[in-house]
Symmetry: C2
Subunit: 321 residues, 2 copies
């Protein structure tokens, strides 16, 4: 008897890979298992036991009566969770070391860029001004990471090793060596008050939507050695109130921002984020992941599941990640 | 009997501190020891046992018949060593944790900037182009550090932790955990051949002057995932052949450079380095050091020396650092 099929529902491209390239790759790693590229393939919907998806059309997954597991080909499942007809089967998100490592690269780079006054230095270079300014040491700066899951917990010790004071804030309590851990709504203000550089790596849920707003920005360290605090958002665009963010950059509540994600992507050409002098903008490429690593991860998880083992990184529907 | 005097010979400013501010600081940390700010102070040259210097006029130090130790208020002693009348007493360079940590910040920042294609991304932002490009992981990139003294040995493991393949090259053999170590002229080519991002932290000596030349640049990894290799010089301007560097940036032998140091500083306004599209330029501020830390370091070393202990970080005159 043939193995249950894996359906691929990949809309658009991801990681610069076409749906066709993903199909070829999954054929390699899912040996002896039918891999169906949808839409297009001719098949019996009852044969589909697994689905690997990227931005599927809402309702599309409800067509498979024997679906056992959904694999999202990225770390964030917020778009998928918005599908009210999503079948009630385990939903697994990508958590591969490759993605985690790339996010840490991004976070360390952008923390250092603001810490080392790169915006000022690039202006100086453009104006041919040899004008060194006072540079505070990393030990004078408090980085605060919102979200201490796989991503936050990986970046935190690297920042610590470079010399920053590092704290984290998460929904429930966490313990990380040498990192001051805050949790829950009751400790948010204390966490913000000590933070000069705020790094947001939260998942997007109904609790976190627009969490980065004027109220939060105003509570950041008002006596920062950097002058004004800085925000780095590499989570989801929906985490930031964009009107508040621009207003706070304009009025000096924030000294700068690195933004990888936006409410609307691609960011429209008329967005003020493109041209704001204190914004470092990247096109949602903080943590592209090697599709090879992702396809192997999915194939391995299916094997684990069929052997009766527990799925890794299954989303808790209620909390939303 | 009063303690031997410490003479301060500080020309210009260093770390944005005036000579007067250094004097006040040394008065605090060298309790009960006369601190003379020169030129200007009235004193008997025979009373001077120690000198703390920054860019002294050649010959100036020869005026003290009882000089016991010279402290250079920076890590690089190349300018001082060029003074042929330099008294033959121990010469100590600054090696404080604060300076080391700042240099690691700089090295990690600039390696990540080139690795993560920041030059391309800033251009995209300026042109309002949402245009993610393929991004290789850190594990695909070999960073090669020239100079494995205090600075190189501190930066290497941080880069390793971020995921880069890291090798080092030094004059004599060194061993560092998880870092491939090359040494001497015989292993230079093998070191260069594997290197995508070359980081130069060498001291400037007669052996290293203009070591960064076309011959070295041409030997770097010609099949780099980055397209063309990149050079980061945070050591001394004299380490680079600037005509070769510009020519290699122009003809694509090098894909980019981060330069903190130059043959002439401040860099003249008509230098092509200011405007080269592939150059990230900083005004010799990679590792400014807290004068507090330096003054304490000098005071502590004097106490150690008077207690008969060995001076730390004494320069070996023959090798030049």
């Amino acid at each position: 008897m043939s193995k249950g099929a894996l359906a691929l529902l990949i809309r658009g491209t991801t990681q610069n890979w076409s749906a066709e390239r993903w199909k070829a790759r999954f054929d390699e790693v899912c040996r002896n298992r039918p891999v169906l590229q949808l839409p297009g393939a001719t098949f019996d919907p009852a044969d589909v036991h697994y689905a690997a998806v990227w931005k599927p059309v809402p309702g599309e997954l409800a067509a498979f009566p024997n679906l056992k597991v959904i694999f999202n080909l990225g770390a964030g499942v917020d778009a998928l969770m918005a599908d009210r007809s999503l079948p009630d089967v385990p939903l697994v998100r990508v958590a591969v070391d490759d993605l985690t490592a790339r996010m840490t690269e991004y976070v360390v780079l952008h923390v250092l860029m603001h810490h080392r006054q790169e915006l000022y230095l690039r202006d100086s270079q453009r104006e041919r001004r040899w004008a060194p300014k006072h540079q505070w040491p990393a030990g004078a700066i408090s980085v605060g990471i919102m979200g201490l899951g796989t991503l936050g917990a990986d970046a935190a010790p690297v920042l610590r090793r470079i010399g920053f004071r590092v704290a984290g804030w998460s929904r429930g309590p966490k313990q990380l060596e040498d990192i001051e851990c805050f949790n829950g709504g009751g400790q948010l203000d204390a966490f913000l008050r000590r933070t000069d550089i705020l790094v947001c790596l939260l998942p997007l849920t109904q609790d976190t939507r627009h969490i980065l707003d004027r109220e939060v920005f105003t509570k950041l360290n008002r006596t920062s050695p950097m002058g004004a605090p800085v925000v780095i958002n590499a989570g989801r665009g929906g985490l930031q109130n964009e009107a508040d963010l621009l207003a706070c950059l304009d009025d000096g509540t924030l000294g700068g921002a690195s933004l990888d994600v936006f409410a609307t992507e691609p960011l429209p050409p008329d967005s003020r984020f493109w041209t704001h002098p204190n914004v470092v903008l990247t096109p949602h490429n903080a943590a592209d992941t090697d599709p090879d690593a992702i396809s192997k991860y999915v194939a391995r998880q299916i094997e684990r599941f069929e052997a009766g083992e527990v799925l890794e990184n299954a989303v808790e529907r209620e909390r939303g990640y």
